[in-house]
Assembly symmetry: C2
Homo-oligomer: 250 residues x 2
DNA sequence: TTTTATTGTCTCATTTTGCGACAATAATAA
DNA sequence: TTATTATTGTCGCAAAATGAGACAATAAAA
């Protein structure tokens, strides 16, 4: 979990605003992108600690949790209207390690007394998001050096139970892939059949037969076929597709 | 949401134990049973109010949420080792209606001041459970007149967003039915193929072809076939089955 | 003994899936 | 200009899965 940098006034005036967020409740988001045939997620690195964590935050007193997560995504990615799905709430006592949070606070020269509420137990409502890798320049928050893409197969060690959170996100994404046809949220507006197949292969972790994949996807009737473009490869040019009702691009 | 009747000392000594539960966090459980070819759930009715709600409760300060839910299930059903699955966390601000909670408190002659924390916003982590209808005598809690089975198609009006909670539980159960072969948790140890098919039909809300269903289920290789028993019907006696590795019953 | 309702299983037609083949084609090499 | 090469779109066929009816077996009731 990572602190929101939005209400900075709160960090300075805790005493004046003792209950700006709901206590004991956090959210974490597993933000998936796709690049170079690999599935990636955004991971933040805290100042001076070598600690890595999922992007996340807290819920304001009069804010829907879904809105809090969208607020966090906007801060990290700059995007609105992201495909987002809640997949699990992690509520074990043991998931929270106060000594880790203490390290983070101390590394940022924040008073343990003022921020004592952060050392209490938290439950975390976890979401995954699917975004177009190319549209995003990840933004770190006030406590972090970086917010960067990592291959899901090669993650750095993550704090708390965040490794488990990522695994459950991946598992849910796999289960929802066929059911909700969610793959196209990871691609630009226009994409080739091969790119779409690569997304599916990256998520499922297995190779798919080209002809069968194409037949299955096209039979769903949710892709619009556009004019071919010559993409500079030494072969027949593929069609480009877009997702959903016909979308005119000029 | 319904109060746990377990730590009654707390209700009497709130001032002494001001933070017995995590604030703002509740759980609700949709407890499914199967009887008379219908899918049913447990619903509680509050004293003197005509208000109906799902069984639920709060999480103790050092208690895993999953354990809190199991504690609640034990209180309502007397059963341990129940099949249980978390399916969503409801976190909208608007879901909580303080005036409803106030009505419930007043009807039980509980001080609004002492129990003011119950009038604050709550998020709810929701679970569904599958149990064998015949094994259970539902138990109301301290604030309720009854805890009874209701046909999912004919529920009384429920407080808060509990109607939506039930619908999402049903939707998740349907999605998990084929994936997790969960149907048999609703039946006794020994059951006939017809009973199992009726469970599937009740959950999916549609009729299934008898031969196809039987072939599919048997091909999974997870049922043990036992000796036929003469069940008193005017026809060929069906086999009895049990679920899982071979279980000897005498 | 006959009738009736339900069960277990089978067959057959239809649909879906897995997998290879082949012509089309865009850049590159000759 | 022409041949080569890699990839694409599509087709065909075999195998597997599915939907739906048919029929003998059988336990109780008529």
């Amino acid at each position: 979990m990572v602190f929101s940098n939005y209400p900075t006034y709160f960090w300075k005036n805790y005493i004046m605003q003792p209950i700006e967020y709901l206590k004991h409740i956090a959210f974490d988001s597993v933000i998936f992108g796709f690049s170079g045939e690999k599935l990636k997620i955004l991971v933040m690195k805290y100042h001076n600690t070598g600690l890595y964590a999922l992007p996340g935050g807290f819920v304001r007193l009069e804010e829907n949790i879904n809105d809090a997560v969208r607020r966090g995504l906007k801060e990290r990615t700059g995007l609105d209207n992201i495909y987002l799905e809640q997949f699990y709430t992690f509520g074990d006592v043991a998931r929270f390690k106060p000594e880790v949070m203490q390290t983070i606070l101390e590394s940022n020269h924040l008073s343990l007394e003022k921020y004592h509420w952060l050392l209490d137990r938290f439950i975390s409502v976890a979401y995954y998001a699917l975004i177009n890798y190319k549209e995003v320049v990840p933004q770190p928050d006030a406590l972090s050096d970086s917010c960067d893409w990592y291959d899901v197969e090669q993650l750095p060690p993550l704090i708390f139970d965040h490794k488990e959170v990522v695994e459950k996100a991946l598992q849910t994404l796999r289960e929802n892939l066929e059911k909700k046809l969610v793959g196209m949220n990871l691609l630009p507006n226009l994409f080739t059949m091969k790119e779409l197949q690569q997304v599916y292969e990256a998520i499922l972790g297995e190779k798919l037969h080209r002809g069968t994949f194409q037949r299955k996807i096209l039979s769903l009737g949710i892709l619009n076929r556009h004019e071919k473009q010559f993409l500079g490869a030494a072969n027949k040019a593929p069609f480009l597709y877009s997702f959903g009702p016909i979308l005119e691009l000029k």
